[in-house]
Symmetry: C2
Subunit: 133 residues, 2 copies
């Protein structure tokens, strides 16, 4: 399996506009855009940096994963996403190694296929895989 790069680091926040006061105004990252990501029940601010992105994720529903994360742990790094060449091949190889997958089949969006790996198998990190299509 070929991991190309870190696609993004996702940070769970209660309020994107407040968080931008640090991430953009103070730290100096630039915001590309804010988007409603229905599949994740969230609003997401995309902050490109180098060859990757920081994503600020604000839940739009109380029953989403990030909403639960915020209630249980407070704001902070939520998941780490790697870009792969071939996500079907990646998931097949991970399964063969006994890795627990949250999505056994990738979710397909317009511009990418994506799947999450369970933190029980990664030593505590929620890992996402992207294949850009």
């Amino acid at each position: 399996m070929k991991i190309k790069k870190i696609n993004h680091v996702a940070i769970a926040v209660s309020n994107i506009e407040e968080a931008l006061s640090f991430w953009c105004d103070a730290l100096g990252l630039e915001m590309d855009h804010i988007e409603k990501v229905t599949s994740q029940k969230a609003r997401v601010a995309f902050l490109p940096v180098g060859d990757s992105e920081v994503e600020l994720v604000q839940p739009t529903s109380d029953d989403s994963g990030t909403a639960r994360f915020l209630r249980e742990r407070g704001p902070g790094m939520h998941h780490l996403c790697f870009e792969v060449e071939d996500i079907l091949d990646a998931l097949k190889q991970l399964k063969a190694k006994g890795v627990r997958l949250i999505n056994e089949k990738p979710l397909e969006l317009e511009d990418r296929k994506m799947a999450f790996i369970h933190p029980k198998s990664t030593y505590g990190v929620l890992v996402e895989l992207y294949q850009i299509i």
Copy 2:
């Protein structure tokens, strides 16, 4: 202030060799080397990926920041490090914006200057800055 890229994402682990069974054997990242980082009271495995690195950080002392993190939250993403052109300028600008710094002056190692920003000011993320020298 110019942020060049994500230098690394640091993951706190109890045991590097165990964690490598996921990060290298299953996910397929390559390990560059393992190093004892005295200033952090830790052993660190460096896994380059794209233009950044994943670092697995195993505390070597019970009174280190990562040891406390592991006790309180379990293994997981510990901090996010950005590379800047000029760390003195970066810290000066952050301070002027009212950002709380853990290190008001950078720590100087052989190959880099580094400083941490307090998670109270970043909306929950322990952020590190590096200037490579």
